[in-house]
């Protein structure tokens, strides 16, 4: 059904159930607002969105009233809504004046200046002066942790921050106490907020009451160059905007993408920014006499060339890390193919993926947006809250709508929704697969079930067998479901993984995988190990093997390396990433790499020429053309190639014996999962805070209070 309205002389037909504010927007009228936010519940407490409805005695808060709640006109004609009348103008001016009574006039020293809703709307809808001569109220500063700087006198009590923390982040840490002039936003107990999404409240705050503490007072929004790019901290591929000034990244903010991150990003994505300026590899190094010494590019490439040329192909190993773009992986793979090296791998040790199976066997096939439609979710060996906080927020969003059963097999971790814990290891999974467990029935009865397999399940010795079990569950659950509904999902933890698998960056014929290479190195078999930004494993001991490290940060790999080739971080190169859904996204270069560091594909291109196996491309365009030939799906930027083949039967064919070991928690410290994060001071601070909170009885670190889990919107809402 639809409803007819007349908004400022334009007649418009709108859907049922939408708010007046949305209706006005559809009619092209701009309504100012502070408390209303598309992705949060409606509060209706700022009154900035007042409109006049003909026949109503008073102006109406348009964000809090639906079109169906309007009183029908006696003669049945459509309701008339005015957004530009004298009454509305006067109402807005009145609201604005009240808001500004207690708001300090400190715009020149306020970090929000230039991107402040209150500033803009005071310009557009306010009156020129103030009639208020009394003292303004003062509010004590609050401590909300290392990410949020507060200036509580600036707060206009829109409660967006409170609603975000409760609804999206799922932690009941922030609230509004007191009434009227005494109203204050507080954490009640004055402890830092510990949620992996907390910094989003700084974006939401329409004024400068909550601002970013780590980069406070360093830049003005209008002097920054904005680059829209992609995040690599997890496999979600959040859309971000990197703001830079000159050669320096000043801040990282989220970009809206409804099918990926909506408009949130995790604290790690945002505040890893200072890691981009520390521990940088800015010149080549070569180990001489047991010590790494600075070298020129010619020297370093010369040493690498000599070593690679002298070594038998079967004794060379290549591992690509978690943050690599598709371009450099493609360049490295092509070079190794030309040299006949088969020991190449982009997977962590014991990851049971195989690109020769259908592509859907290693993708999040339901898609992140698809979570909104799911009605039964089985999590296997995963803690989405730490592995992909944004995806976890999506699941919570679905959970809040009601009517979605969630269960977990694996370590019992605090998630932001209620779930049924079915067991800790493969045993529970076998039961489910055999249909012996009650939840198997829930899955098969559900209209849109999902099985999400996490790193705890697929990254282990018997990963193939575990994945086969999960596939069996998925196949049983997927019977008689809508033809295009995909049940089986893999949740990756590394931004580089899907593109790597798409490019076939796995051992060739007779080649060794990551675990095999490291083992081979221990037995003096491997002579040269080429690490492309790979740090996440125990480095082989010195003397056994000659390690070449190409990367951006001095971490495990660089410490162990015999030659260091300085590459660029994700903000310093244009690269393609495929997220866990297989959505291909293009990251752009925001700033140049520091010092002598070069873009990674260019380093490999230069190396290939020295080795006499010159790669057939001289620029990124040519490289991409060659890459698209090999992996056409990488061409579809911003798109998911829908999975046509069902992965289940292929996965089930790999069935085997499973051990009893419970699924491990793969992320021990959310804030320190990659070299950039480990170089970041802010991340170290957060990690310490979280560790300290674990022993503090007052807070539940990353925990969920029963109350916030129980918080549910009514199913109809």
């Amino acid at each position: 059904m639809s409803k007819k309205l007349i908004i400022d002389d334009t007649e418009i037909e709108v859907e049922d159930g939408i708010t007046l504010l949305q209706a006005c927007e559809q009619a092209g009228a701009e309504i100012p607002r502070f408390c209303y936010h598309e992705r949060l519940s409606i509060a209706g407490n700022c009154r900035m969105c007042l409109v006049e409805v003909k026949g109503a005695p008073k102006p109406i808060a348009s964000c809090a009233q639906t079109v169906n709640e309007l009183r029908p006109n006696p003669d049945g004609s459509p309701n008339v809504i005015l957004t530009k009348s004298a009454l509305v103008k006067k109402a807005r001016e009145g609201v604005m004046e009240f808001l500004l009574i207690n708001h300090p006039l400190d715009c020149p020293i306020c970090d929000q200046g230039g991107e402040c809703d209150l500033q803009d709307q005071a310009m557009a809808y306010g009156v020129g002066g103030s009639r208020y001569v009394e003292n303004k109220r003062a509010v004590e500063e609050k401590y909300l942790g290392p990410l949020i700087r507060t200036f509580m006198t600036r707060c206009i009590h829109c409660t967006r921050c409170v609603r975000f923390m409760t609804e999206v982040a799922g932690v009941d840490e922030l609230g509004l106490i007191g009434r009227g002039e005494d109203a204050e936003i507080t954490t009640y107990l004055e402890h830092g907020m510990l949620s992996e999404l907390s910094a989003n409240v700084n974006d939401l705050c329409p004024v400068g009451a909550l601002t970013h503490r780590p980069w406070s007072n360093t830049a003005r929004p209008w002097e920054l160059r904005k680059t829209e790019t992609i995040d690599v901290m997890d496999a979600v591929g959040s859309n971000i905007r990197v703001d830079s000034r000159g050669p320096e990244v000043m801040r990282i903010l989220p970009r809206n993408n409804d099918s990926v991150n909506e408009e949130w990003i995790s604290d790690k994505t945002r505040h890893v920014w200072d890691g981009l300026k520390t521990q940088r590899l800015d010149q080549p190094y070569v180990r001489r006499g047991g010590k790494l010494r600075p070298a020129t590019w010619e020297e370093a490439l010369g040493v690498v060339t000599q070593k690679l040329a002298q070594t038998e192909a079967s004794r060379i190993g290549v591992i690509a890390g978690d943050l690599c773009g598709a371009e450099e992986m493609f360049a490295l793979k092509s070079l190794m193919d030309r040299m006949g090296v088969a020991n190449v791998d982009c997977r962590a040790a014991h990851e049971a993926f195989d690109p020769s199976l259908p592509r859907s066997s290693y993708l999040f096939n339901t898609t992140i947006e698809g979570i909104d439609d799911a009605d039964a979710i089985l999590l296997v060996g995963t803690n989405p809250r730490l592995e992909a906080p944004i995806l976890n927020a999506r699941i919570r969003k679905r959970y809040l709508k009601g009517g979605c059963e969630i269960a977990l097999v694996g370590a019992q971790v605090p998630l932001t929704y209620r779930y049924e814990h079915l067991g800790t290891g493969p045993a529970a999974l076998s039961e489910l697969a055999d249909g012996k467990h009650a939840f198997a029935e829930i899955l098969s009865k559900a209209k849109a079930p999902m099985v999400i397999v996490g790193a705890g399940a697929y990254r282990r010795f018997d990963g193939e067998a575990v994945m086969a079990l999960a596939a069996r569950i998925a196949r049983a659950a997927g019977k008689d479901k809508a033809a295009d509904w995909r049940v089986f999902n893999v949740l990756h933890t590394a931004a580089a993984r899907v593109a790597g698998l798409d490019l076939g960056f796995v051992p060739g014929k007779g080649g060794l995988d990551t675990a095999g290479m490291l083992e081979f190195a221990k037995h003096d078999g491997l002579e040269v190990l080429y690490l492309l930004g790979a740090d996440e494993f125990d480095m082989p001991p010195p003397d056994d093997v000659f390690v070449i490290y190409q990367g951006s940060h001095g971490d495990a790999g660089a410490h162990r390396a015999d030659v260091i080739l300085p590459g660029s971080a994700y903000t310093e190169k244009s690269a393609t990433y495929a997220n866990t859904e297989g959505r291909v996204q293009l990251g752009l270069k925001a700033v140049f790499a520091p010092g002598e560091a070069k873009e990674d594909w260019a380093i490999l291109r230069a190396l290939s020429a020295q080795l006499g196996h010159t790669l057939p491309f001289d620029n990124l365009t040519e490289l991409r053309a060659a890459m698209y030939k090999q992996a056409p799906q990488l061409q579809r930027i911003d798109d998911v190639t829908p999975a046509t083949e069902d992965p289940c039967s292929a996965l089930i064919a790999r069935e085997g014996k499973v051990s009893d070991t419970p699924f491990a928690e793969v992320i021990s410290d959310f804030y320190l999962t990659n070299p950039i994060a480990r170089a970041s001071r802010v991340m170290a601070q957060l990690s310490a805070l979280k560790a300290a909170a674990a022993t503090d009885a007052r807070v539940t670190p990353f925990g969920t209070d029963e109350a916030s889990v129980q918080y549910q919107m009514s199913p109809e809402a």
Binding site: P247, E248, Q279, R280, D282, L292, A558
Partner: protein
């Protein structure tokens, strides 16, 4: 100053020609604390419709040598000459010419001529150092 340069080098200071011309058409009205002398045209007016005003610098000719009190008069902003009653404001610093281009020019910290550590600037990063 050698005789030759006093005749020819107008860029180093006033030449004999300048002094002669000014002596011919103008008479001195005052002198500031630095020894720069100021002259007013005796008869007739200049392009601004007022008698022309001149400064003859002591030594090196540099426009920034004119102190504040004479600057207003010299540029036709005020007509009154700064007399003995002139008192600088409490917040006024003693006048100093622009030192750019001289040995006393300002050099920021970290300049090659002032080898101190420079302050943190945009784009600085901490490089990794082995061990």
């Amino acid at each position: 100053m050698s005789i030759l340069s006093e005749i020819f080098s107008w860029w180093g200071g006033n030449t004999w020609g300048t002094r002669f011309t000014i002596w011919k058409i103008a008479s001195q009205v005052g002198e500031d604390e630095f020894g720069n002398r100021y002259y007013l045209q005796r008869s007739g007016v200049g392009p601004l419709g007022k008698p022309r005003r001149f400064v003859v610098y002591k030594d090196l000719a540099d426009a920034s040598k004119v102190p504040a009190e004479w600057h207003g008069w010299l540029h036709y902003t005020v007509d009154d000459l700064p007399d003995e009653n002139y008192k600088p404001r409490a917040w006024q610093k003693p006048h100093k010419m622009n030192m750019t281009g001289t040995g006393k020019a300002y050099r920021p910290k970290g300049s090659i001529l002032r080898p101190q550590k420079r302050e943190r600037a945009t784009g600085d990063y901490k490089a990794w150092k082995p061990e």
